[in-house]
């Protein structure tokens, strides 16, 4: 079934037409997915690009040079990098710990712990109580608010646990017989064997944090604590609604900022993608 013969013989004709139409349709769909992104890249490079043009007529790095010269964009970028790295580390630690503990079928109170995690998916205090809570804790304007709660998501924990389950349990037993403490087993055996799951969950947490917007709007007050997403939005909204004439270089700059904010992901994505398809699939099939 891996390859199919395409033929227009009687009886196969309908099928063949379907396969061809299907491929054409999917190509068309991919174009729809890609064109808005592609157009932003083209517009960021071509000062003359307006409207329909999908290929740069001339290439200029003027917009990127302007961004590089804008010192006010450095700090938000750094805030984004800092929170993303911090949150990914914290989130991966929390997710793997929770998943590993829940993996223990015999541990007293297992149901309580699962319930404790699941409940967070079911019910939450909502925006204002969360806001007042952060205020009361004295964590307003502190980037730890972004980093610390990251990653303890039920979805990620379930995904991670399904992955741990695929590690043969004899390995754990052998480690225990050899006198490994659970902490050591976790560190020396479980984690090294779960690289695909770590890569996929890590990507989810990293992208989630990189893309974070609302917590910054809600909990950060200083301009110096804002991340790149907040800056991008500020730049885009400048005179977007006022209807004043927008110069071509303005649009170029806006496009370039969008490219810069998506770029890190597009670099990492091809390397991690093969892992996460596998990781997510394991989780999905187990339900």
């Amino acid at each position: 079934m891996m390859t199919e013969k395409l033929s227009f013989k009687k009886g196969r004709r309908g099928r063949t037409i379907f396969v061809i139409c299907n491929v054409i349709f999917l190509c068309f769909l991919m174009l729809i997915m890609v064109i808005p992104l592609w157009k932003v890249i083209v517009d960021s490079l071509d000062p003359t690009s307006v409207g329909i043009r999908l290929w740069p007529k001339q290439i200029s790095f003027y917009a990127y040079q302007t961004i590089l010269s804008k010192k006010s964009l450095y700090l938000p970028f750094f805030v984004s990098v800092y929170t993303t790295i911090g949150a990914t580390a914290v989130g991966l630690l929390m997710t793997t710990l929770a998943a590993y503990v829940i993996l223990q079928q015999e541990i007293p109170g297992r149901k309580l712990m699962i319930g404790y995690i699941m409940f967070t998916m079911l019910f939450s205090g909502g925006m204002i109580p969360a806001y007042l809570n952060i205020q009361r804790l004295g964590l307003m304007n502190n980037l730890l608010v972004i980093i610390l709660p990251a990653g303890v998501s039920t979805y990620n924990i379930v995904l991670m646990r399904s992955f741990f389950e695929s590690i043969p349990s004899t390995l754990y037993e052998a480690a225990e017989l050899d006198g490994c403490t659970p902490l050591r087993t976790f560190w020396k055996i479980v984690l090294p064997l779960s690289k695909p799951a770590l890569a996929s969950v890590g990507l989810f947490i990293a992208v989630g944090t990189w893309n974070e917007y609302m917590p910054f709007i809600l909990y950060m007050q200083d301009n110096t604590k804002m991340n790149f997403q907040v800056k991008v939005r500020e730049l885009i909204l400048q005179d977007a609604l006022s209807g004043t004439a927008i110069s071509a270089s303005d649009d170029m700059l806006k496009s370039a900022v969008v490219v810069v904010v998506v770029f890190p992901f597009l670099i990492i994505y091809p390397f991690v993608q093969k892992y996460f398809t596998k990781g997510v699939t394991v989780g999905a099939v187990k339900g």
Binding site: M1, E4, F18, N22, V23, L26, L29, M30, M33, L37, D43, V50, G51, I52, L93, M94, L97, Y100, V101, Q104, E106, I107, P108, G109, K111, L112, G115, M121, L122, F123, S124, G125, M127, I128, P129, A130, Y131, L132, N133, L148, V152, P182, L183, N211, Y213, M214, V230, V232, R233, I236, L241, I246, A248, V261, V262, Q273, T277, V280, V285, G287
Partner: protein, 315 residues
């Protein structure tokens, strides 16, 4: 603790006495230590705020001490036309979004499943997943540029055909269409991942048996593939149903003052009431209203799920 213990050990009947239980707990001491950070993180950032729900019953602004007012905040909400507008919009926007998203994802998954060339399949999957990872802020930015009446590509095409440019994001009639389309653009591809996995798990012999019985290709899809993933479809539907009222980020970044009428949802209403107007009492009340309805929805959905799945096993 005791009752939950008994439930987990359904298949291990011997009852343990207190001392044995303590021995067990001691045996697992390291695991409890490992659970501690997770416990604390959820406690501080998730369970603490739940205590703040009490402000739904208080008159509370930053400038005065909270005073108990009972259900007055809810009374205010239920009399407010804006709240009901937000409620209606939430239901409408997220239901249509949910149904459209699922139909398109299942359809796309079935089409991708028809592709037998591994390379083409991989390329397709890689590309259709990309938009999922782009934040709503950036999606809004990209499409603000893309749909801009002055320089956007879409309007350039429209004007090339001699029509007036359309300000998609500032027009009450267009905003919702754009909202649904952007949701489809961003999430359809990613939505397929779970169905593709489920389709890959379908026993190939079923297809072969159907083929021997003379089923056409379409019949095989209809009577083997779709029933095989129906449980997955249902599960995804129920999980999403639980989140129906949580609509916020996507609306917030696409919204502007000229389309408030058709785009205001409970999430953005809470934000305006609570953060912009600093009326903590009323906004907590509307948040609580939302959460309670969500819980009811989840409970009903879960019951339905059990019923349908149970019948599926029997029949």
């Amino acid at each position: 603790m005791k009752s939950s213990k008994e439930k987990t050990t359904k298949y291990v009947p011997p009852k343990k006495n207190f001392k044995q239980k303590m021995v067990d707990i001691y045996h697992y001491r390291w695991f409890y230590l490992m659970f501690l950070p997770v416990f604390l993180s959820l406690l501080v950032f998730h369970y603490f705020p739940i205590y703040g729900i009490k402000f739904a019953f208080y008159d509370y602004t930053p400038f005065k001490e909270p005073t108990w007012v009972g259900f007055e905040n809810f009374g205010y909400l239920f009399r407010s036309a804006r709240f009901w507008r937000a409620f209606r919009n939430t239901i409408e926007l997220s239901t249509i979004k949910l149904v459209l998203g699922m139909v398109f994802s299942v359809g796309l998954a079935l089409l991708i499943d028809e592709i037998k060339s591994v390379a083409f399949r991989k390329v397709t999957q890689t590309i259709v997943y990309i938009p999922h990872f782009i934040s709503w802020v950036v999606v809004a930015s990209i499409f603000t540029l893309f749909l801009s009446p002055q320089s956007g590509m879409v309007n350039a095409i429209i004007t090339a055909f001699g029509h007036e440019p359309i300000y998609f994001l500032a027009s009450d009639s267009w905003w919702r269409v754009v909202f649904y389309l952007l949701n489809l653009w961003k999430e359809t591809g990613w939505g397929t991942i779970i169905y593709i996995a489920a389709l890959a798990g379908v026993d190939q012999e079923m297809y072969e048996a159907a083929a021997i019985d003379g089923a056409t290709h379409w019949q095989r899809v209809k009577y083997v593939s779709i029933p095989a993933i129906s449980i997955t479809i249902l599960t995804v539907f129920i999980l999403n149903l639980a989140k129906v009222l949580n609509l916020f980020d996507s609306v917030f970044v696409l919204q502007n003052d000229s389309v408030i009428k058709s785009s205001d949802v409970i999430g953005t209403y809470v934000y305006r009431m609570g953060i912009v107007s600093a009326n903590y009492g009323v906004s907590t009340a509307s948040g609580l209203f939302k959460s309670v309805i969500s819980v009811i929805l989840i409970t009903i959905a879960n019951k339905l799920n059990k019923k349908i799945k149970g019948e599926g096993i029997l029949g």
